[in-house]
Structure formats: C-alpha cells, structure tokens
Symmetry: C2
Amino acid sequence: MPYRSIIAGADSAQADVAAATSAATEAFAGFRATSPEARADFLDAVAAEIEAARAEIVEAAVAESHLPEGRISGEVGRTTGQLKMFAGVVRRGDHLGVRIDPALPERTPLPRADIRQRQIPLGPVAVFGASNFPLAFSTAGGDTVSALAAGCPVVVKGHPAHPLTGYLVAQAVTRAVEKAGLHAGTFSFLLDTDPAAGPQTGIELGQSLVTDPRIKAVGFTGSRGGGLAIAAAAAARPEPIPVYAEMSSINPVVILPGALATGDTDALATAYVGSLTLGSGQFCTNPGLLFLPRSEAGDAFLAAAGRATAEAVGATMLTEGIAQAYEAGTEKLRSTDGVSVVGQGTAGDTDAPAPQLVEAARLAGVTDEVFGASGVVVRYDSIDELLPSLDSLEGQLTATVHATDADNEAAAQVVSALELKAGRILFNGWPTGVEVGHAMVHGGPFPATSNSLTTSVGSLAIERFQRPVAYQDVPAAILPEAVRDDNPWHLARRIDGELQLP
Amino acid sequence: MPYRSIIAGADSAQADVAAATSAATEAFAGFRATSPEARADFLDAVAAEIEAARAEIVEAAVAESHLPEGRISGEVGRTTGQLKMFAGVVRRGDHLGVRIDPALPERTPLPRADIRQRQIPLGPVAVFGASNFPLAFSTAGGDTVSALAAGCPVVVKGHPAHPLTGYLVAQAVTRAVEKAGLHAGTFSFLLDTDPAAGPQTGIELGQSLVTDPRIKAVGFTGSRGGGLAIAAAAAARPEPIPVYAEMSSINPVVILPGALATGDTDALATAYVGSLTLGSGQFCTNPGLLFLPRSEAGDAFLAAAGRATAEAVGATMLTEGIAQAYEAGTEKLRSTDGVSVVGQGTAGDTDAPAPQLVEAARLAGVTDEVFGASGVVVRYDSIDELLPSLDSLEGQLTATVHATDADNEAAAQVVSALELKAGRILFNGWPTGVEVGHAMVHGGPFPATSNSLTTSVGSLAIERFQRPVAYQDVPAAILPEAVRDDNPWHLARRIDGELQLP
C-alpha cells in the first residue's frame, strides 16, 4: 500500500484520531508562540516542499481526479501561491487585531485600567478537504493554510477520492514541519486505511475527529448533507465548536436586457455554456441558474446556449458517486413539471454523463444544487418580476450580473437584492474562477456556508480560527509581544479606537 | 396597565412577533442604506432620549431591580456612553472593513479582476436582555446598540424582571427612530403582556422570535440553560442563524505567593469579598472561584476572607427565582464532599440570602456557576499543581491574577494557561467592572459564551452582526459608497492587502 495516515510526522497503519489530536494539542503551545517571521517562514517552506514534489503530486492528482494535467498543474500553483499569500499576511501581522486602550488614572468618577487586546489561535483544527480541488481546497488548501497561519495545528481527514495525492501533499507538509523544527503534531493526516470497509469507515472517522474534545474548530468543503452532519455533531458536543462548512450553491446569473441588446448574443451564450461545462461543471461556483429576459433576444440567447450545450461532451467526473448523483439530479429536473430540455450534450462514458441545459416555467422545484454541468434557465418579463425571484433564493456563494450602462437603474436594484443572498457579486464575467486575494469572499448565507460571517478563500479566512483576548493591567514584563508598548513586531494597532500604522 | 409592547413605533396589546419582524424587514432596506453620519446621529439621538427620560427610567429600574439608585444612575450613564461610543465607531467607519484588490489586466497567465469587499449588516436581530443590568445589557444595551450600529433593525424581547424599565427605554428609542425619520420597524419591543399566564408565555414568545425566518441573528445575556435553548432553536431552523449568548462563568482568581508576601493580606481578602458580594454578587464577572496558596499567608488570607464574609449582609436579589436558585446552589455546595464553610454572612430577608464563602478540597463538583455572592476557595501547593487545575476549567469571561514582580515566572505560565480559558485576563484588580471601550473583551470560550470569536461589550461587538460581500468588476456607477475609488466616507481601506489610512 503506497499511502497511509501520517500522525505526528510518522506513517501509521491506523487512522488514530486520539493520537493525532493529542499530538496536535502538544504541538499547540509551541506553535502558537512562534513569531510572525518564524510562522511565515514555515508556510513558505510548505509551499517549497509542495513545489519540490510537484511532478509526483500532479501525476497522482491527474490519475485520481480525472482532471486534465493543465488544470491540476495550475492548481499546484494556486496552492503554493495561497501559502505564500498567508505567509505575507502573517508577516504583516494585521490579523493579530491589536487594540490598546491606555490607562486613564485621573479619570473620574473611576480611573480606567490599561486594556490591550489581541487575537489568539483557537487550538487544533480539523480539516475536511473537497473532492473537486484535490490541492487548493484539500490537504494543504485554504482551510489548512488559514488555520496554520492563525497558529492552529491541523488534523486533515484525507479525502477518499484522492488518497495518494493527499498523502504526497501531507508528506510535503510534514517535511516542512520537521525542517522548521516544529513539534511533529503541528500537522497530521488521517486516511481511512481500510478501503474494504467502504465509505462508512470514512464517515465514522470524520465523526470521531469532529467530536474529539481536543479539536476546537472545523473547516469543511463538500456537500450540504456532509456539512450539516458535521455541524450537527459539532453543536452536540459538550463543548460546541465552530464549523466552517462550504456546502451548496447554484450561483444565479442575471442577464439584464442591455447585455442582449448590444453584444454578441451567440458569444455570450457560448461563454455561459463554457463556464457551465468547465471541468464537467464540478465547481462550487458553477452557474446552475440563469435568469433571462422573456424577449426575442432572450430567445436567441437560449437557442444559442442550447446549441452550445448540445455540442458539449461529458468528461469523466471525480467519482462514480458524483456521476450517479448528477444523473439522478438531471433526470429529476427533466421530469419536473414545467421543465423542458433546451440542450443536451453527449455522454463521454458512464462516468462522464452528458451536460444538460433546461428551461423551467417557474423557480419552485428547480433550485436544488445538481453538482455538475447542469443549468436551469428561468425567464422574466420585467425587473418587478425578477426581484421577488431573487429575494426568494437561498444563500449563494456567487451571483453574476450581465449588463451594460443602459441597465444601471435595474442593476442597482439587482445588486441590492443579491448582496443579501451571496458572498460575491460579479459583473459581465463568470463565477467559476475564484481569485485568491485580500478582497475575495468565498462564502455566503446558508446553505452556501454554515457561517456567513467569513470566507474560505482569501486572507480574511484567517479570522475564522482566532478569538480575541483582553489583557487588563498585565505587567509589562509578561505582556505578549503583540501588545507591548515597544511594538517589537511593528504591528498596525488601534489605540483608543484609532488605527495607527507602524 | 402602564406598559405594553411597542411594535413599529406603536403601542400594542399583543406581543405580535410576526408584526414586529415584518416591520423590521421593511425597515432594513432603508436602515442599512443610511450613511455613517446619519446612523451615528441616530445613535446619539437614542442616548439623548434616554438621558431626557433619566428620572423616570431610574425610578422604574430601582423599583424593579432592587438595585441601589447610585448603581442604576451610573448604569444610565454607561448605557448612553456606550451608544455614543458606537456612534463614534460608525462615523469612523472602520467596521465596514473595506478591502480593494485593484484589477491587474496585464497579469499572466490570467488577468485579475477588480475585487472590492465591504461588510454589510445581517438583517433584523433579536435581543434578549439581562436581568442584572436592566439598562446596559438590556433594551438599549450592548447587543441592541451594536446591532443598530451595524445597520440591523432590532426586536427586543423585554425582560420580565424589569418590564416598565424596558418599556420606558423602548419609548425613548422609538422617539429617536421617529425624529431621525427612520422606518418605525427599525426598533420594536415585545413584552409578555399576559403576566397571568406565567413565565411559560415569555419562553414561548422568545422561541417564536428566534425561529421567525425574518430574524437573522440573536443577542442574548442570561443563564446557561436559557442560552443553550435559544442556540438549539436557532440551529434547528431551516436557515440556521448565529446566536451570541453570554451565559455562565465563575471567573477564577489566582493568588500567587508574592501577592501574599508583600501586601496587606487582610486588605486583599476584604477587597476580594467586596467584589464577591457587590450587588449581591449578581454579575456575570463575579469571582466565584479562587485559587489560594497552601501556606501560612494563605491561611491568613482565608481567615480574613471568612471574617469579611461573615460581616456581609445579603441584599434583595433581582427576582425571587434568582434568590431561590442561589439558596439551592449554596446549599448544594455546602453538602458537597470535601467542602467546608469559611464564612457565612447574614441574610437580609427571604429574597436577600446570606453571602457564603467555602473551601473545597478538590475542584471536581464545585465549578458550576452559583449566580450571587457565593465563593469557592481551592488551595494549591505549587505552580505544577495549579496549572493542570487551570487547564481543566471550562471557558470563562474573566480570569484574575494577583501577583508581584517576584511571581513573574509563574505568572507568565498562568497567563498562558488562562488565555485559552477566558476572554479577559486582569492583574491585581477584580473582574466585576467591565470597561466599555475598544480593547475590551466580554466573551470567552464555551460556556462563558456560545461564540468565543467575539465580545458582547466594546466596539468589536459590532462585527457580530455583519458579513463580508465582494464586488467583482461592478461598474463604478453602482458600486456602494464604501468601496468607491473616491472614498466619499474617508474610510481606512486595505489596498492589495496593505492598510491605508484616509
């Protein structure tokens, strides 16, 4: 067997949750005390170790995910870029959120004490990676790197769809832990090492990880059912813990009339189907629902989108289970009252089902996510008909608007409705690309995520794994570096409520 | 009947949840669109209206809470000061958390889109105030003001222990809403108007408020049982929502040897008992557990604390129910194996039970909160015996250390242990005062709160009621003011990851 669990730096035949979480707890004291520079260097080292193992990681990930080599190779770059971005965030130190309210000994009627606040890491974090991004949202993906950046040891539950990829990445992280001189428990990787026992073993492993009292937070990317099960288990613990689950989204697209009046309708429709079918539609940001004007131009768009879909060929999906769920979901859509097929592509093979585009007479019954290249078009006559439809949607990761300046009045109303529904609103593009940056939000109201107050992509994600602590009249000699008067880490600080740069 | 519910600005005989939340939803669109200046002016106006009604509010609150007039009068000032502080926070605008990653059209292999992030309010918020702070943690207290500051309409469930106080404050807020020209649904106040039906009616009212689909977050201050019930109801909704419950804390105090070696042990013990019995001990930050060196000086401290407790007289508690729970809790402590009474004061009357101080041979069985003037002392021989005890504690709002420079080595270890347990660590003082400022944390790990990532006192509390939204390539003409290039609100912004002051 070429891959196993890695617990506290050593290969293990058993996915021993208690051993991994105990090691993580032991590692926590030292890891949280690392200076920004040391912790950032460690993140850079993880990136370097992944880069050094790039060839074998890419080979494994292509074989396990059926995704094209170019896509996987790009995802390695995205993963290491993400690590380096968080290294930069840690070096800058703004995430420490330092606030100082100096003492006011002369204040009447009561003097004010000296109060200083910083953010500290929560403790060991459990990470459940995604099937569809075997690198960027998995073993050393966004959840792992933001938890490590915050100073939290991480225990990853390896994804059964890409065990070797996960193992190779975990080895790279483990090498970086060792070279940085960190406690080996800083990172562990648990793999269901008994494939004969079937997926149930993996679910049990996940449950025992989430309910282990040493785990203090969870990052998850996957299905709504999986995310809700983990959130329920975490809430039922004697000490409930936060779960950041990125789950389900159909990513509505609104085409406003102007976008059809001036542009090349065929090209717009083709670009839409391109986004819909990219990577077999296996993106959490896949545009599964499109609102289209009921007009001649709308008819032309729909016909062109139908033709483009008919020309599309299914590519092998990530797992058999995902392909079967896609077949069931698209079949259910086709048999829903008021739904007609606009275009259907060609299946590649049994694990590469055909892309599908349908038109639905009404929104009710067609808003469940079908993971894969499945699109639903709903027509509207006027902005007054459109807005209540947008208001009725569940929470989303993204919402897209196609419009020109002529649409500005309607577009402003649409944005106002959509910002209550989605974490990211984009214009005249497609949602399937998620930039890793400081302003990105990959989040949104339930059921897009289990916690709409944050993001799982971008530098804000670090805040999920920290909590504030106030230090009142703590002697200077034992104050943490972050809140000392001499500001040894050159941090931006909020003094008496006012931001001051270093 | 002199007081009733206030729904959308009008007196109502019924505590009609749907009417209040519908009005709040209608108010939300306009309220969230207010400029920082307009919203801040509104908060200042609430403070002014409360100040204008000070005399009748103080009279009602003293009568209903049995707390002394000086304390209540001070609490009015704290409440209005808190409103003004949040007005300042809103005017400054840092809570909008603006981040801009400018477009990089020339970037290879792919150009970067223009991405801008701001925080937006969650929507209508339900607030359950505390019994023990009828003003500062109630109708227009910390939860209400931070939600309003974020741009969320608020529906308060009036506390049955101070209905008239709540009604008078709600009238003041309502007058400010009206004068500011805001939608009347911006603030509503629901009171169980059928006292004959008993407390069950109030619990049902609370449940229907929390489970109303128009409510998007909850602020709560009260018992562990009450907070857990509300958190469970919120988690079971079709759309789960965040609950910020401040619940249970015994606020450990650690006396290190140096504090007994140099100071006046009698004075220290008297000050401790003063904090323990202040306001009948009815503070969430009441120091209910004290770790004391097993030494001669420790014996002297304990004897002095016992004498001070014996001299203390019980004052009437907030409600009969609270007094009964205190009697039951102190009785249970006395009958716990290994517990001996160190000092017992005098009862005032049946609703003013006697303060009590006990010594416990071990920590197990004595760490449940007894709301009121009940203290438990546990002795320790060495720092090596103390630290595991601290590690075994549940989450706390505060942790206090008494020490001198001679204790620095031990104190650093104690701080390192306590910061994982408490939201605020203070030295050589008492935890019962909670400063309203920018650096304050009134929060902490479960069960001190249901969400350790935030605070219910201080300006950081506003972040509980906001979520981030990213705008990608949104046309300048319809971008929200907060993220426009010309920065009309003069906000601090993070450009490409770097903080820039206005």
